[in-house]
């Protein structure tokens, strides 16, 4: 399912709204979620899961082509942990 398919499904579920509202709502939700992570905040959605940042310490990597050492600085990466309901529903369906 893509973002536009998600928007279409939501528009169907809310026939009293104009289609543009579903489109705007999806973009607004995704922007708010991205902004939260960029601020360093967590996201916690009951029944779905949580998003947080994980720390990656600095390390010395290698250029795989030349074999030269390169220092890779520390960074933060987004991480998602599925909530109980999502975990169980996805597993049961397999």
């Amino acid at each position: 399912m893509t973002k536009s398919e998600l928007i279409a499904r939501l528009a169907e579920r809310f026939p009293q709204l104009v289609a543009k509202d579903a489109d705007f709502a999806v973009k607004m939700i995704l922007d708010a979620m991205s902004d939260a992570l960029v601020r360093g905040d967590r996201i916690e959605i009951r029944g779905f899961g949580s998003f947080a940042l994980n720390y990656r310490p600095p390390r010395t990597g290698r250029n795989p082509k030349s074999g030269d050492k390169v220092s890779v600085p520390a960074k933060w990466v987004p991480h998602f942990k599925a909530g109980k309901e999502l975990r169980e529903r996805v597993d049961k369906a397999s």
Binding site: M1, T2, K3, L6, R9, L10, R13, F14, Q16, L17, D21, A22, F24, A25, V26, M28, I29, L30, A32, M33, S34, A36, L37, V38, R39, G40, D41, R42, I43, E44, I45, R46, G47, F48, G49, F51, L53, Y55, P57, P58, P73, A74, K75, W76, V77, P78, H79, F80, A82, E85, L86, R87, R89, V90, D91, A93, S94
Partner: protein, 100 residues
């Protein structure tokens, strides 16, 4: 600070002009539709944010960390999330290497 469904609903009320009831229902439906897609084995691609994918993991040996007793971890299907290049780049930049 933690972002929750309540804050997302407030945002839809203030910025999109949905009424309180619709805003709350829309946030609920948003996550419900993603859950439904994943439940039916369909991955979800949200460009600019990231992709939710499904992985089928085979059974593997595990043990009870308390007792040391060996118990198999059953085969299962799990959800993985891969942040988009854009989100990764935006998050990475922010802290500039400082630890929490």
């Amino acid at each position: 600070m933690t972002l929750t469904k309540a804050e997302l609903a407030d945002l839809l009320f203030e910025k999109v002009g949905l009424n309180k009831r619709e805003a709350k229902d829309m946030v609920e439906a948003f996550f419900d539709e993603i859950r439904n897609a994943l439940e039916t084995g369909d991955g979800v691609k949200l460009s600019g944010f990231g992709n939710f994918q499904l992985r089928d993991k085979p059974q593997r040996p595990g043990r009870n960390p308390k007792t040391g007793q060996e118990i198999p971890i059953t085969a299962r299907r799990v959800v993985t999330f891969h942040a988009s290049q854009k989100l990764k780049a935006d998050v990475e930049q922010l802290y500039n290497g400082t630890s929490a």
